[in-house]
């Protein structure tokens, strides 16, 4: 009997092992050492199950690009989307007037032609014959000029609370720009009124200097004064608060975009916008079919069958957290020039770089980025590709936002701010910590981001070099000078010790960067203690909005290909300016280059130089921020992939151009 039990047990174990190993007849040896073939044969040897037949059986084998995505799509509604995953999909299943081509050049998509008035204020677009397709590949309706009017007005619709409504303002579309500004003003006013109502003395505590009551009274008085000023300003312009709301509603309705007929779209601007055509490639400016929108109601864009496709691809399968499967849209106007038959994104949320690299080496995906030690491990392979980027990381210096402290007082002295920039050896961050081609930066407008036609198409940084020797930026690493400047600022303020709160991103690499900055500042600046706080993103954002920080490690990627996307961040009271920097001269240049006289088409060279000069002011003279590095990366990519143009704003890749050599 003992034997039977033992036998049973052994059988159970053997069975489970056999069952587990049953399918295995394709050993996959030591992929770490595998060399991805650089010949014209598929890297995919058929063990991944994504192609049914070997390459040589039929010439018509579908071209499927296998990719990996680490996040889900937050929104497919063009006026709701705000993130890179949504924009990537939208930019490929939808079409706007233009799309991004090689080198980030706008290429006409739905637009057949454009007529721009001499003053640069009126754009008349003629549209191609294009169709909306359903998910099943059936033609739903033609794309008309009204589809653009409908979608753009949605950006301003109060019921939609569109987060990217600022794109209307960026494009300076007539009445839209004004509506966005007035809306912000009214919301700020409403929030203040509400804050006044909910103010509670219990939220204040006695300090050495003031009692809770005093603080409460002061805060209340300040808020009341602010509200009175806001009311006065609104009343002066519009007659009354109610009239301001009416005016807002009128501005929204009167957005300067008109469908003259089905094929003619006229856009009127408040001021010339040198990058208007570029903006038309951005998914926020894509059209939407009103009839379909009304037909599906609330479920619009929440599933792939509640959406219409006018782009090169159709979103055939949308499995949240599993798969995004795009197939070629047969009804796309330029379908014959779309090479890929399908794009198959495997979705694995938060996938580790190790897994991604392994999948690439196994031929399951066609490209991957490298990070951490994988950079060193695989960076020398022949299929390595540099991933140049135009995202810039920097430290915001709080020189007065939020409640005033000694530290902020110190940092309102430009010498102290310059000292911080000069005290940090940025090459350590780029060469030792990241070691992936990222560039140390003493500049703010990234290299390779934008050129000037009026300067022989020279890059921004080259023009800066020619004008001010600022090609590599301003105020370079100089620990001795840093100590001197900082000591002087401290002495004038009469303090010998200060504490910096440095808020950083979470993660191992981020922690290394944080520690490096901490070490450099404590070593090179006398009397400084740095407290590093790694915060969840939303908390970090909240702290910078409130101004409860000393140094905030931030990053910025462009929204459109013009230096303005970087430079207007630092205007007085700007939504992204959490430094407390307020400078009327700075604001004046932004005003002139954004909507003033320098926007005239014939002044483009002058405008460019004005902005280059402004960057010099921002850094060399005022050191509002401390630039750290321009992000870059390296990756691996299947050599069979052709026309892989990485874009610096909007959708990362336009797959319409991509081809796969057989």
């Amino acid at each position: 009997m003992k034997k039977i039990l033992v036998m049973l047990l052994v059988l159970a174990m053997v069975f489970s092992l056999v069952a587990c190993g049953g399918n295995n007849n394709e050993p996959n040896n030591a992929p770490n050492n595998a060399v991805v073939n650089t010949e014209n044969e598929p890297a995919n040897t058929g063990d991944t199950g994504n192609t049914e037949e070997p390459a040589d059986t039929t010439p018509a084998e579908p071209k499927v690009l296998n990719l990996l995505e680490s996040s889900n799509i937050p929104s497919l509604t063009t006026w709701q989307a705000t993130d890179s995953v949504s924009f990537l999909i939208l930019g490929n299943i939808g079409s706007g007037l233009y799309t991004l081509g090689e080198g980030g050049v706008p290429v006409a998509d739905i637009a057949e032609s454009v007529d721009i008035s001499a003053d640069g204020l009126t754009y008349t677009f003629k549209l191609k014959d294009a169709d909306w397709s359903t998910v099943d590949g059936e033609v739903y309706a033609p794309v008309t000029a009204n589809d653009f009017v409908f979608a753009w007005k949605k950006l301003l619709d109060p019921a939609e609370a569109s987060q990217y409504s600022f794109m209307i303002s960026t494009a300076s579309i007539k009445n839209g720009k004004e509506a966005v500004a007035l809306n912000e003003e009214l919301i700020g006013y409403e929030a203040d009124v509400e804050n006044l109502e909910t103010m509670d003395p219990a939220n204040y505590e006695d300090t050495d200097e003031k009692t809770a009551k005093q603080q409460y009274d002061e805060a209340k008085a300040a808020l009341e004064e602010k509200i009175a000023a806001e009311e006065a300003s609104l009343t002066e312009t519009y007659g009354s608060i109610d009239a301001a709301y009416t005016a807002l509603s009128d501005l929204r309705d009167g957005l300067g975009v008109t469908a003259v007929d089905d094929h003619t779209l006229v856009v009127e601007l408040s001021n010339p916008v040198p990058y208007f055509i570029d903006l038309m490639t951005f998914p926020s400016f894509f059209p939407a079919n009103e009839a379909f929108y009304n037909e599906v109601g609330d479920s619009y864009a929440k599933s792939n069958d509640a959406f219409l496709y006018n782009g090169a691809f159709i979103f055939k399968e949308w499995k949240i957290s599993e798969r995004h499967y795009l197939t070629k849209n047969p009804n796309y106007w330029d379908a014959e020039n779309v090479a890929l038959d399908a794009i198959d994104f495997r979705v694995i949320e938060g996938v580790s770089n190790d897994t991604a690299v392994q999948m690439y080496l196994d031929g399951e995906i066609a490209t991957t980025a490298l990070s951490g030690e994988n950079v060193e491990k695989y960076g020398n392979r022949p299929d390595m590709v540099p991933l140049e980027d135009v995202v810039l990381f920097y430290l915001e210096i709080n020189q007065g936002k939020g409640e005033m402290t000694t530290t902020k007082q110190l940092l309102s002295d430009v010498r102290a701010r310059k000292a911080i920039n000069m005290a940090i050896d940025k090459t350590y961050i780029t060469d030792v910590i990241y070691a992936n081609g990222s560039l140390p930066a003493d500049y703010f407008v990234p290299k390779g981001f934008v050129g000037s036609a009026a300067h022989d198409n020279k890059d921004w940084r080259q023009v800066a070099e020619d004008m001010y020797g600022g090609g590599e930026g301003y105020n370079h690493y100089n620990p001795e000078m840093a100590a001197e400047l900082f000591g002087a600022a401290m002495a004038d303020l009469g303090v010998s010790e200060v504490e910096f709160e440095l808020i950083i991103y979470q993660g191992d690499t981020a922690a290394q960067v944080g520690t490096h900055i901490q070490n450099e500042l404590e070593k090179n600046l006398p009397g400084v203690t740095v407290i590093v706080q790694a915060l969840p993103f939303s908390e970090k954002l909240k702290r910078s909005d409130e101004g409860t920080y000393t140094l905030n490690w931030g990053g910025w990627g462009p929204d459109y290909p013009d230096a303005m996307t970087w430079m207007d961040m630092w205007v007085t009271g700007g939504g992204h300016n959490s430094t407390g920097y307020a400078n009327a001269d700075y604001d004046a240049v932004i005003e002139a280059t954004k909507s003033g006289d320098l926007t005239a088409p014939e002044k483009s060279g002058e405008r460019f130089e004005a902005l280059v000069t402004l960057e010099k002011k921002l850094l060399e003279e005022d050191q509002v921020i401390v630039p750290l590095y321009q992000r870059s990366g390296v990756g691996l990519r299947d050599p069979r992939i052709m026309n892989w143009f990485r874009q610096s704003f909007g959708p990362d890749i336009i797959y319409k151009w991509v081809d796969l050599a057989q």
Binding site: M1, K2, L5, L8, L9, A12, S16, C20, N23, N24, P27, N28, N29, A30, G49, N50, N72, I73, P74, S75, L76, T82, D83, A161, Q163, Y164, S165, F166, N183, E184, I187, G188, A191, K302, K316, E317, K319, I320, S321, E322, R323, Y325, D344, V347, I348, E349, G350, V351, S352, T355, Q358, M359, P536, F537, S538, L541, K542, D559, G575, H576
Partner: protein, 319 residues
């Protein structure tokens, strides 16, 4: 019996209500907001807050949420296209259940067999082997095990797959392919189950085998196999079932480490993302769902006791 079940169901309802209420208010103490896009201005954030009614007093929001829940609406995710929370949970659940149930069945069966083996051959080689296995099983972190399995089993030996593959007709992944790819994650999860079940089984069976009624059964002339099968095993299983309950919860709610290593689109990943993004209703939904699973499984276990051991049958049963 029926009355007992009804009473328990009422208690389940009450428990869930308490869980929901506490969670609702606790979540509002989390730092940050669900809207953390650095590109949007404070005014636009304010608009988002209003859109989802987050600017109302918390009490009002709570009553509104309760009302929605009573109508079967657990709210929407702020971060995922306003998708309904229930839909998001429903999409994740099958994957977690697939792997969890594989791990549970495999773990409990192997655990019971090994435990029984160790008890019957107490002091032998098998006993020592099983004990060592148990120690290893509880002490290796699943993270380490998953990494080891991926490195040796997949990379070196070329067996199984790195990643879990959901069933997908277009991609040619059948039910069997999917189950095949679930083996490693399930095995990684099951090691703890095996160890725990084994230890309980062994100690219980040893105790039962030493009791008087077993001696009586032997004296009646039953052979050892009959004694073990008919009398000993059944009695030894009761405490094992006690631990299977909480283990089931653990497996059904998923393991973050296993999900991350094998790319499983499961529930714990959903909860983690929702938490890091302050996606209030999604966090609430998942937490309430977890609690629901917990209390339900406990109820089932309690009812199972009665089936296995007539002595514990409750009110209404024959005493």
């Amino acid at each position: 019996m029926l009355r007992y079940v009804v009473e328990r169901l009422f208690l389940i309802f009450l428990t869930l209500f308490v869980v929901l209420t506490i969670n609702f208010f606790l979540l509002r103490l989390m730092p940050g907001t669900p809207f953390d896009n650095p590109k949007i201005t404070p005014a636009q954030k304010e608009l988002m807050v209003r859109k989802y009614g987050l600017d109302d007093p918390v009490g009002v929001q709570y009553l509104r949420y309760l009302n929605d829940v009573l109508h079967g609406d657990f709210g929407v995710s702020f971060r995922l296209q306003d998708q309904p929370v229930t839909k998001l949970i429903a999409m994740r659940l099958p994957h977690t259940v697939q792997i969890g149930s594989m791990a549970l069945v495999f773990g409990v069966v192997v655990g019971i067999l090994l435990g029984a083996l160790a008890a019957i051959y107490r002091g032998s080689f098998w006993d020592g082997f099983v004990t060592i296995l148990a120690v290893i099983g509880v002490s290796i972190p699943s993270m380490v095990l998953a990494a080891l399995l991926q490195h040796y089993v997949v990379a070196e030996w070329g067996m199984f797959t790195y990643l879990y593959n959901p069933i997908d007709a277009t991609r040619g992944i059948s039910v069997w392919d999917s189950l095949y790819s679930s083996i490693l994650p399930a095995f990684s999860l099951s090691l703890y189950v095996i160890s725990a079940t084994m230890r309980y089984m062994r100690s219980e069976l040893v105790e039962v085998l030493n009791s008087d009624y077993i001696l009586l059964a032997r004296a009646k002339g039953l052979n050892k196999t009959q004694v073990i099968m008919r009398h000993a095993l059944r009695n030894a299983l009761i405490p094992v079932i006690t631990i299977v309950g909480p283990m089931t919860i653990g497996l059904l709610t998923g393991s973050l480490v296993i999900e991350m290593f094998y790319g499983v689109p499961g529930l714990s990943r959903l909860l983690l993302n929702a938490t890091s993004q302050n996606d209030y209703f999604l966090i609430l939904g998942v937490n309430v769902f977890y609690s629901f699973l917990f209390v339900t499984v406990i109820l089932i276990i309690d009812l199972l006791y009665g089936v296995i051991d007539p002595r514990i049958r409750l009110r209404g049963g024959k005493s």
